[in-house]
């Protein structure tokens, strides 16, 4: 399933400092981050980022703090200007756009959800939800119904008259999501949207997002530092370290084939039985022997082990949309549960 590329980041560099242009030349000649800081006193924020964001997918950009992920997401709508590179939205380089065109894009094609909610404290929940439409110049009575509908959808029906500070953190972020949805933009940028919430609420919000996405099919860029969250949400996972992309791809693939020691280390603590799916471990070539049952290609290994009742001998037919696509052998499951050492360790 390869969808159209919606947003494409090409050779993106960001250097923080007084004279990024000169520093950029040095980086272009291959200077490292540490050397740049040493000799030029500039910080290399992002180095040669190439990411394709596909339509209707959730792309999760993951990295620890300081990896540049929040800087990167602010390049998608040019809240931060890159030092070099291109940001293509529907094939057009937005860095060449003037103020008005950029503003139009922010109003109509990209909405954003923030870690600290960033609601307007002096406006009601309803006005906050309708912010994008109000910004476009729509009258209050025009956007009221629309905003109310999305508030309802995120579970805040009837709270439109409240002020944000009267709501809990989780509810405030629901307003943030309603605000992004009301703008009806096809692309949604979510900057650590759930990181400030406590774990139970976070799980709720993740489920809400998955549910909404199942119905709305937006193009979502999601930033997080939480690997569990990343694996739960991602169709495409980009792992960022020290301002550079270390590995990107299908999350299951990354889990099974870590590109280097850093990633291997990173994914080592994951509860793999629940994350890995039958489709990632199954064999597609024909396998002889008796079939004990059928499983869905998206079942996780935990449920398969449960189905096998701990026995190592049964094999299962893996089904997708009612058609067999492969066979799952229990020894393969066992092997997949043990983190693999990086194939070409750094």
């Amino acid at each position: 399933m390869t969808n159209q590329v919606k947003v494409s980041i090409r050779h993106l560099y960001k250097i923080f400092g007084d004279d990024p242009v000169t520093a950029m030349e040095a980086v272009g000649e291959g200077m490292s981050k540490a050397d740049l800081l040493e000799t030029h006193n500039h910080v290399l924020g992002l180095r040669d980022i190439n990411v394709d964001i596909r339509e209707t997918e959730i792309t999760v950009i993951m990295g620890l703090s300081g990896s540049g992920k929040s800087t990167l997401i602010r390049h998608f709508n040019r809240l931060i200007e890159p030092t070099a590179g291109e940001v293509l939205v529907d094939g057009e380089n937005i860095l060449e756009w003037d103020e008005a065109r950029l503003r139009q894009m922010r109003r109509e094609t990209m909405s954003m959800v923030f870690q600290k909610f960033a609601l307007l404290p002096h406006r009601t929940v309803l006005d906050n939800a309708g912010l994008a439409l109000a910004t476009r110049g729509r009258k209050r009575k025009d956007y009221e119904a629309e905003a109310e509908r999305w508030l309802e959808r995120v579970g805040l029906g009837g709270l439109g008259g409240q002020f944000p500070h009267q709501l809990s953190g989780g509810m405030q972020q629901r307003v943030g999501i309603a605000r992004a949805l009301t703008s009806n933009a096809p692309i949604m940028l979510m900057d650590e949207a759930f990181s400030a919430l406590d774990p139970l609420i976070r799980t709720d919000m993740q489920d809400l997002l998955i549910e909404l996405q199942g119905e709305l099919r937006k193009t979502i860029v999601f930033i997080t530092h939480d690997l569990d969250e990343a694996l739960k949400l991602a169709d495409h996972l980009v792992i960022l370290n020290d301002g550079a992309v270390v590995q990107q791809g299908e999350p299951q693939h990354i889990l099974l084939n870590p590109a280097d020691a850093y990633i291997a280390d990173f994914v080592a603590d994951i509860y793999r039985a629940r994350v890995l799916r039958a489709r990632s471990v199954m064999r597609t070539e024909p396998v002889d022997g008796e079939i004990a049952g059928e499983i869905d290609h998206n079942d996780n290994l935990e449920s398969v082990i449960e189905k096998a009742e701990g026995s190592l001998s049964p094999r299962f037919r893996v089904m997708r949309d009612g058609k067999p696509v492969g066979t799952l052998l229990m020894p393969d499951i066992m092997r997949a549960l043990v983190p693999r050492k990086a194939e070409h360790a750094a």
């Binding site: 139009q104 922010r106 909405s111 404290p121």
Partner: protein, 345 residues
């Protein structure tokens, strides 16, 4: 013999010094030295004077005395005075009109209209019956001791000056918050305005305008009182939560939408605190401005000082305190109202 003669001699400047001659009028110190008579040059190292203008002048006539500096400043100011007046006079004339009209309106209207009008204003600003009651009691007391008219004059001056302070101060504060360069230029000027002793404002203004013109004290009050509203507007806008401003950007607000829809509303508590301070400072200045014919309670205070009429001065002073508390309560109530309708983050 002066102490620094030797310095000029060794530098070979003796001819230059003598050529310009030493024919200025003698300073007091010179006279004292001459009448005192003896051993001016025979002092030990202990008596070595600091090489100030006066000390150097003694040794070399070409160097000006310190009094020439103040004299020069004065003459320079007098020289540009006429030009300055042509520009400033028409510009500030409306201030005179506003002040005299406002004073006229508030003193010649019967008390049974003025007091209810002020109470209505207090209610409109503060939305609190308690504050209105306090205002009524204060005004009633002032009227009861026959200080109503000077109190109204003082209030009229404060209303006009504070209004103009806000009118100019808020936009200046906004400009300073939006440009670091403006802030770098503005802050030293504000510091100077704030620390300059209030009397000093009056001196150049007396030279510029005639003492009978209301704008003379009007300008002095405005210059002194405009500082807090500028400062707190600037600060308030800069303190607005950056993540909210970023969200405004991310949703494509224009800078005008951002300013009026986000920054000013969120900075409003700070701006209101600035307005409160501005009103308090204009009240402080209105008393000093009575030296240059500002009417009101300050005149009575001045009379108390000049004629040693203890009672007159004290009662007028307490009247000022009451007006100060009144203005403070009303603006504080307004501030609390603005704060409450927003959030505590």
């Amino acid at each position: 013999m002066a102490t620094y003669d030797g310095v000029f001699d060794t530098l070979g400047l003796r001819a230059w010094c003598d050529a310009s001659g030493n024919d200025g009028p003698m300073s007091m110190a010179d006279l004292m030295a001459r009448t005192g008579g003896d051993d001016a040059g025979a002092g030990s190292l202990r008596d070595l004077p600091f090489p100030s203008l006066d000390a150097l002048h003694e040794a070399c006539g070409a160097i000006p005395q310190s009094r020439d500096l103040t004299l020069g400043l004065e003459q320079g100011f007098l020289a540009i005075r006429d030009g300055l007046r042509i520009v400033i006079d028409p510009l500030t004339q409306p201030l005179s009109w506003m002040l005299s009209d406002m004073i006229w309106v508030m003193t010649s209207t019967p008390w049974w209209i003025v007091i209810p009008a002020l109470l209505l204003l207090a209610f409109f600003v503060a939305r609190s019956w308690k504050v209105v009651g306090f205002v009524a009691a204060t005004l009633g007391l002032l009227a009861f001791i026959d200080h109503f008219e000077p109190a109204m004059e003082t209030l009229a001056i404060i209303f006009v000056c504070a209004f103009i302070c806000v009118l100019f101060g808020v936009p200046i504060g906004i400009a300073m918050s939006r440009s670091d360069r403006m802030q770098r230029i503005g802050i030293p000027i504000l510091d100077m305005l704030q620390t300059l002793p209030p009397f000093v404002y009056l001196i150049p203004l007396i030279f510029l305008f005639s003492v009978t013109e209301p704008k003379l004290y009007g300008i002095a009050i405005i210059l002194y009182a405009i500082v807090p509203v500028i400062r707190l507007t600037d600060l308030g806008i800069r303190l607005v939560d950056q993540s909210v401003v970023e969200a405004a950007d991310a949703f494509g607000m224009t800078s005008r939408q951002k300013l009026f829809g986000v920054q000013i509303p969120l900075a409003l508590p700070n701006i209101m605190a600035g307005v409160n301070q501005t009103i308090m400072m204009s009240l402080a200045m209105v008393v000093i401005a009575s030296l240059v014919s500002a009417p009101g309670l300050g005149v009575l205070v001045l009379r108390g000082i000049r004629n040693l009429e203890l009672g007159v001065g004290l009662v007028a002073g307490l009247g000022i305190v009451m007006i100060a508390i009144l203005l403070d309560r009303v603006t504080k109530a307004a501030l609390a109202r603005v704060d409450a309708s927003q959030s505590s983050r």
